[in-house]
Symmetry: C2
Subunit: 113 residues, 2 copies
Amino acid sequence: MISAEQGAFRALADPTRRQILMHLSTREMTIAQVCEKFEVTRGAIKKHLVILEEGNLISVRRAGRERINRLHPQGMKSAVDWLQYFSRFWDDKLTNLEIAINSENKSKESHND
Amino acid sequence: MISAEQGAFRALADPTRRQILMHLSTREMTIAQVCEKFEVTRGAIKKHLVILEEGNLISVRRAGRERINRLHPQGMKSAVDWLQYFSRFWDDKLTNLEIAINSENKSKESHND
DNA sequence: TTCATACGACACCAAATGGTATTATAACGG
DNA sequence: CCGTTATAATACCATTTGGTGTCGTATGAA
């Protein structure tokens, strides 16, 4: 089993996939609708969507013959949580905010990868 | 020229590189010292360090024959900034905090990749 | 000077990645 | 039923990636 953030970081590493996430942040879209936004083939987009799904960054539901892709932002939170460990090093103000959150939110994961 | 977050996300995609960042968060280390923490060869670690440097996640200085690697957390901030666009979708509380930050911090980048 | 040490630079390899093209399958509309 | 549409699945290709091994260079110590 791979860690949650591994799937997320892997999916986020490709610029096309990050653009797909931006598009899905405005509305949920079928594969064909995502394809309209890019110059690559449907096959390539499909592979990206599978990787985004494996990374838990999108969820998919079937509607008839359509496959509707929806942003699943909780998956991105795992990457943010990992990164925010370093926030103390770049922004004291953000660190204070992080502390405020942590005091209310006890369920913090470790960073042992 | 590739975007700042592309270099960061690419570097963050590998679990070994994320572990290297965790180690460097405790202290700066030479290549040999990083190697001690892993089972792979020095050549592999060197490549990882180059990618981390290209992603602006570490900085390097020469000291005699040693090459000292130091965490450069500002580079990670570019990835966090990109991701926090989505924070509104997963946590209203964090969104409020983000708004509080943005009201003091006007220099926000776009997400056009 | 000589030797061990810390890197740098290659060449090389297997596997993963991003992409295409082609061929199916399945559902909706008339 | 038939044609069209939306997607799935597969084979294939070029490049990148993560890794090793080897050789070279440079610095510090004896």
